[in-house]
Symmetry: C2
């Protein structure tokens, strides 16, 4: 007897983070369907898995992002799976949650001002539907934890960046200031970045900064790079 059991609802949700105006921000979408719970509320993008269309939950997550933001996603990883009888009024549900990082502050197609879509500072997200508050908290734990030992925060900025910009994103994510010399030493030791072409001058005064991009290794896996400093 194959699958005699009642099947739970299966959805994917995505925590999309970026860096805008020096702040870590999360993407919220306004729930539109009047037949579904929390209609009108702002929550994390998500939706049902479509078994005819999606290869797996990761591709379902990409489809959700395509549909709701139309933009390009720099990094996507599975975060955690939330489940239970109580988390969704529609019934016993499983939500496979993904974490997406996209570059901020210079229009990469994510249409931040599109109707029904908005960016919110991660510490200013209001009342979120379902268990989205717990999901967001877990995503922040993950990003902050990985920031201490991986190149992951680099996906929050443009693919070509200066040392200042790279260190700045780590400082925002980790919530502490870093020492430029120590930061460079650690990043260089891990061969996490390589020089890019050209030079860019700073906005006002000062010596122009060299440009860099993530190394091929850093783009594909996140080695045990230790970047955190003492509290």
């Amino acid at each position: 007897m194959t699958a005699p059991y009642i099947r739970p609802i299966v959805t994917v949700d995505v925590v999309v983070l970026t860096l805008r105006a020096g702040q870590l921000q999360v993407l919220e979408v306004q729930r539109q369907d009047a037949a579904e719970p929390f209609c009108g509320a702002w929550g994390l993008p998500g939706g049902y898995v479509h078994v005819e269309e999606d290869d797996d939950t990761a591709s379902a997550a990409r489809r959700v992002l395509r549909g709701k933001t139309g933009g390009h996603v720099g990094h996507l990883e599975q975060l955690y799976t939330f489940s239970g009888a109580g988390r969704d009024p529609r019934g016993w549900s499983v939500s496979v949650v993904y974490l997406a990082l996209v570059q901020g502050d210079d229009g990469m197609g994510l249409r931040p001002d599109q109707a029904g879509v908005r960016w919110v500072n991660v510490d200013e997200a209001g009342e979120l539907p379902f268990d989205h508050a717990a999901i967001l908290a877990k995503a922040l734990d993950r990003v902050r934890g990985k920031a201490a030992y991986s190149s992951l925060p680099a996906f929050l900025i443009a693919p070509v960046f200066t040392w200042s910009e790279l260190m700045g994103v780590y400082e925002v994510v980790l919530g502490q200031t870093l020492d430029a010399s120590t930061f460079r030493r650690k990043v260089e030791a891990q061969m996490m970045i390589v020089p890019a072409h050209g030079q860019r001058r700073h906005t006002g005064a000062g010596r122009p900064a060299g440009l860099y991009r993530l190394s091929t290794d850093a783009l594909h896996d996140f080695g045990r790079v230790v970047l955190s400093e003492r509290a």
Copy 2:
């Protein structure tokens, strides 16, 4: 229109690890139901989520372990969620996989010789059904990764242990020898263990070793304990 989509199959699978005879071993069960795929094959314990009975997937995992091993589980954590159209012949499926660690070598109820249940060295698991080989590989990655910075491997041995036993389990999991002095310094710095009562004499000769157990903190969360050494 609530849930107009075809719902995937939702199962849980559990990678149960222990330490027996100085080896890291995984629990396999023989698949019994002739109506289900891979009947007769040895694979990871798992089963359908029962929405009437299970609070969430973690409780489904505990139920699966109760039913198939009857034993006590020292540590249970979510590992990863595997999904897709191709991984299960019964159809598009989602499997929420858990990692369980149990103490080995001194009968704690897990009935290792029960019919249809067996322990296998993790590097000698044969042909596994579904994507269980990939699941096991991911579990080993997780355990080895966490061994470098947490008290997690301690759940593979008895709750009261000696320094030798604790260091031994780390050596087996990490696959390298450790220095006793350095190991003690790091573990003590993290206040991971506390003395237990009594003294235990060694099997043959030598000074008897003091007994210890995990501290309350280490039992509940896995702090950033750094225990690995250089390769």
